[in-house]
Amino acid sequence: MVSGGFDLSLGSVYGATGMFLALLLVLNVPIIVAVILTIFSGIAIGLFNGVLIAKVNINPFILTLGGFFLFRGIAFIIGQISSIQLVGKANISSISGLPDAFNRIAGGTFFGVEYIVFYMIPIVIIFHILLTNNVLFRQNFNIGSNEIASRLTGIKVDRIKILNYTLVSTLVAIAAILRTSRMKAASAGSGEDMALEVIAAVIIGGGTLAGGKGSVLGSFLGVVLIKIIQNGLVLLGMSTYYEKLYIGAFLMAAVLIDRYVKKTQLPKALNS
């Protein structure tokens, strides 16, 4: 989103890659091969998105809206195929019974902290460092602020865009692998609201749809906020029906405060 891009399809890709992985595993494909194939499927989906958006110049919203439908459909089709093959009846939308060795990748705790957290923290730190210090990644700020000017200064805009979409889908595939391992099952409906939640988190964390702004740490805190809301409602014994109300209100408040600060502080800063 810093580069001005956008991906609506990630929840569907999450469902589809998770189902793909689980299908491979129950077909007795070795675990390492299955994991690598799943990551490759994520890379392939990202390349497909990136090439069409960067080279054919298609609006990312529309293209990933197509992907939103397409990959959710594929997730359910995989569920159907595998349930016919394995159980002998149709309309089962989740796959379980995965090998134990696979379930240990992200299932289990270390000093009382779930393994999956130890995957999350390095990823956040690495991407934060890349976006603050690495020249290639910092060029995303230029592209997001002014694409034409970036092109003229010699930034390889198309390549970076393709890299961005590939990274997103690859990370989605990795998330799907970890979740499938932690839950010991994959379900075709998983990640239904994921894209909108992730986008809300990025915006709460200071990103904009127009591009040129945002930080990994901010987005991470946005995710934390959303999860605290969800968890807090449970702890307070309130109905989870209120969950979306608060997320929506926070999102709205974040952009309104941002707008207010810009309107009042920026002229002051310019005058002084």
Partner: protein, 316 residues
């Protein structure tokens, strides 16, 4: 020759050809397609989206965008049912529900046009908040089984055609006529083409934008009332995919996210293509799960073709 070339450049004509080809193929391949029951099935399945799609097209032409229509539809279906259960006279309940739709749209339109916040973000927040309100009002269960007159709103038949189908197609024809002939509605093309020059032309840009959002939410609330009346029931799932389906039809119909382009006729053909794909899956006994794959593929193919053809034209 030139004439034929020109005609093929008209997007609506191409879409019409696609619809025609699908209809002819289905008529030949399946004996059940051209039956009266199946035709009514298709019209009925697309009626909810059709009611919203006309207003959404106008919104897209003006450069706007609304993600929240599915939530509004679900909320309003729930509100009208709750009001009637509480003893409100039916006409009053319907009017109140439409008013609530207008208020929802006006709030979002106000934030978008007067405070100038990106419509995607505003309607995304709207989508979340309205969805929550829907669940809270419902109390966690579907509500149904209302007295007879309420279900007549949608099911009342004129010449054997149920009211909700008549209303859907009547409303889309009205929007088409307004967008062609009415100055107020035609201003949306200027607004979507270039907002600054539209305001220099003397168009009240902010009011027009606010009106568009209010109109879209009002149509969503009407669709909700019809849906509740059709099934005599308001459920708690709502219809999360409605916004995406309507937007897909509008984009298939030739509108662009940047605004300034699109037509209600095109959108109607877009809706037809989506309904026919769904119907074909049912007729050939394919799993309905293929529906999402088909819609996704059609959307991607159409925009890729669009983009490459535009580029060729520009190069020429």
């Amino acid at each position: 020759m030139n004439f034929i070339k020109k005609i093929f450049r008209i997007r609506e004509f191409n879409l019409f050809l696609i619809v025609l080809i699908i209809i002819i193929t289905l008529t030949i391949r399946s004996p059940f397609f051209a039956t009266k029951a199946n035709m009514f099935g298709i019209l009925s399945s697309m009626s909810t989206e059709t009611i919203i799609a006309g207003a959404m097209t106008i919104l897209f032409i003006s450069g706007g965008f609304d993600l929240s229509v599915g939530s509004t539809l679900g909320l309003c279906a729930m509100i009208v049912v709750v009001l009637i259960k509480a003893g409100t006279p039916i006409p009053l309940a319907v009017v109140l529900t439409i008013l609530i739709g207008i208020i929802i749209g006006s709030i979002m339109g106000f934030v978008i046009s007067y405070i100038k916040i990106n419509p995607f973000i505003v309607t995304l927040s709207g989508f979340l908040i309205i969805r929550s309100l829907h669940l809270i009002i419902s109390g966690g269960t579907s509500i149904g089984n209302l007295q007879k007159p309420f279900s007549l709103i949608a099911r009342f038949k004129i010449l054997n055609v149920p009211m909700y189908i008549i209303f859907a197609f009547f409303s889309i024809l009205v929007f088409d006529a307004l967008l062609r002939n009415n100055v107020f509605f035609r201003n949306n093309y200027n607004l979507g083409g270039d907002e600054n020059s539209a305001s220099l032309l003397g168009i009240n840009v902010r009011k027009l934008k606010l009106f568009n959002y209010a109109l879209t939410s009002a149509m969503a609330s009407i669709a909700g009332i019809f849906l509740a009346s059709k099934f005599n029931n308001a459920n708690i799932e709502g219809s999360p995919d409605t916004a995406f389906q309507v937007i897909t039809a509008v984009i298939l119909g030739g509108a662009s996210l940047k605004g300034g382009r699109g037509s209600v006729t095109g959108t109607l053909f877009g809706l037809c293509i989506m309904a026919l794909i769904q119907n074909a899956l049912v007729l050939f006994n394919l799993n309905i799960l293929w529906n999402k794959i088909a819609i996704g593929l059609v959307l991607i193919i159409v925009v890729v073709l669009d983009s490459t053809m535009n580029r060729k034209r520009l190069n020429n």
